[in-house]
Amino acid sequence: MVIRRNRRLEWIARNRLHPEHSAVLMGVNGGDEIGPSGLVRKRPHDIGFIGPNGIKRIDRLGNSLATMAGAGAHKGQAEVSLPLYVVENASQYVAVVLDAPEGRLSEHDKDLLGLAQQLKAAADNAASTAVAAIIFSSAAPEAARIESYQLAGVDRLIVLPAESDDYQPEQRAAQICALTAQYDFIHLCFPDTVLGGADTGRRVAANLAERPATSVWKLDGTQLICRGAAGKTDITRPLSKVIIALEQCADQIDESKHECLALSADAITLSASRIEDLGKAQVNPNDIDLTEANFILSGGNGIEDWDRFHEAARLLGATEGASRVAVDDGFMPRERQVGATGKWVTARVYIAVGISGAIQHMQGIGQCDKVIAINTDDSCDMVKRADLSIIADSDAILTALIETLSNQSSAEFHPQEAVA
């Protein structure tokens, strides 16, 4: 029998990128290739698979080709179980007082747990030292939360009772002080968050007559590096008992899992607080300083009807900003000017209405998260910067926004009013 060479198939078999490559390899002849001599040839190239990056991979671990292919690869990995880090018979503790708003760890909390683990490793008796996280909560945390604590490096968890989320710094400091008396923590770490850990931590330190290390941003061996002089200097100082640390003070824990065993706190009777939280005050968005505002609606040269602009800002609950031209033309007061020559803003959302984006203005909004541009010119700098651009007349868009918002508010609130 004369074996005729099918040169096309041979070519396809050589060409890994050919769409029919694998089918050809599997063989029109039932998977076996018959060589020119009539013998069945082994195909060493047939083992393995082509990875997502186009490079051939040979899987010697035995994972099947099917599970590795495509999206399945990532799922497989998430289930890789991290090594569990166990502290048996903990004799001393590094305490971390977490902000944990609603029980959820903030990035700052995780950084702090990383720092606590470093402190633990640096402690004299590291093997029997545990990181104890302290949270305030009215109820025990749910399982999912516990797991997140485990992954963030919490060896032990102490839940202190909290009646409410009100600002009760004296109570909380007293609770932590009592706990310190109970467990004699070697370190007490607080996140340096305004009115959070920064406040509680200093209260605790004052109560314990300890000098806190504040604005800590790095643990260097057994030395702490702190920011001093309002951020202008670095102070290297020995470890202290109370440590109030900045964000990113240490790498977060991500390669180990921790026990997160519950520790109990002795019940204490709290004396009446001398400070009472009367609740948040209503703040008119326009009374918020532009540099602090979270949500800014900013108007520029493209606005014809300023009343409509103000109305839209009111309905959106946005702080009003303006471009230099709008201020110069007297439509907005000077302190509302955004830009290099005005205010440098840090809003989460910045809506630029009819602002084409002079370089000074773009500098001023450099730190905003999301920018929405409303402009008639789709080639202007603001549209290039924006995450969402509306290319249309600004007044029309503002009108549409006002209509939608007032429809929504009537849909949302009026029925309740009717019931009431």
């Binding site: 490079i55 504040t214 002089a229 670095d234 009367l278 290319i391 209509e403």
Partner: protein, 269 residues
């Protein structure tokens, strides 16, 4: 609150010598100046300004003059050397003030030089055994009869919270308070600096062991790629950065929806 009672009270503001972040020149500390402004605006019957520091230093005196220029007639200075603990000096001065102890003691939230720990007001409150309210921006009212005061506390992102506290108390004033008034040359010239003597100052020994140097730039944490396989590392290194060039919408009727959707995603609405 009744107008009379609120004005009968005594407020003392602690002043420190600040430092300009760029030129490193001494200046009015921004927050202390705001604290002084809060006091001047409230205009109680008794207003005092207190400073603990080195009176021999000409530059310090210039800064104190700048505070005087805001319209406070005099500043009491507790002479301390640069290496002594100002907190101890202030605490013992205030503790021994007797009747002169103020109802409200205002400070900035932290100093602009030295350790800048922001611990001083906490320490003072602890030593004087009175409450402390951090980061206020205004004194709202004072009820002398009930012995309580209401203050406005500033939270991040321009939010405010009302706090009721017992008198007397210590409060730190943050940057959200009213911008301090201009310092006038004439008032500065007329103001008086009184040196308060007979305070034993304690040297700050802990600080001698510290090493202070100009702030290093903190390394910014990069997005850490925890890739387990070469393929993932490869992908992480070569993956196209998500384009920031945003979506463009040309139709008016879709625009409002799109905007509101984004606002809701960002939780600002």
């Amino acid at each position: 609150m009744t107008a009379n009672s609120s004005k009968d009270i005594a407020i003392t503001t602690l002043l420190s010598v600040g430092q300009h972040p760029l030129s490193a020149r001494p200046r009015r500390a921004e927050e202390d100046a705001r604290a002084l402004e809060v006091m001047l605006q409230f205009a109680p019957a008794s207003m005092k300004a207190l400073h603990a520091g080195d009176t021999a230093d000409a530059q310090n005196l210039t800064v104190l003059k700048d505070y005087l220029g805001m319209g406070i007639p005099s500043i009491d200075v507790i002479p301390t050397s640069a290496d002594s603990d100002a907190a101890e000096a202030l605490a013992s001065y205030l503790a021994n003030a007797g009747d002169g102890q103020p109802h409200i003691l205002l400070t900035g939230t932290r100093s602009e030089v030295g350790e800048s720990s922001g611990f001083l007001p906490y320490l003072l409150a602890e030593k004087l055994a009175i409450p402390f309210v951090p980061n206020i921006c205004d004194i709202l009212s004072i009820d002398m009869a009930a012995g309580v005061a209401e203050v406005m506390q500033s939270l991040p992102r321009g939010q405010r919270r009302k706090i009721k506290t017992q008198l007397p108390f210590v409060a730190s004033v943050g940057m959200a308070a009213a911008i301090p008034r201009q310092s006038s040359f004439g008032a500065a010239r007329r103001g008086v600096i009184n040196t308060v003597s007979s305070i034993d100052t304690v040297a700050d020994e802990a600080q001698t062991a510290w090493k202070t140097e100009p702030a290093r730039k903190r390394p910014k944490r990069l997005k850490v790629v925890k890739a387990k396989t070469a393929a993932e590392r490869f992908k992480a290194a070569t993956a196209k950065v998500q384009s920031s060039g945003g979506e463009k919408i040309y139709e008016v009727d879709k625009a409002a929806e799109a905007i509101l959707k984004l606002l809701k995603e960002e939780k600002v609405l």
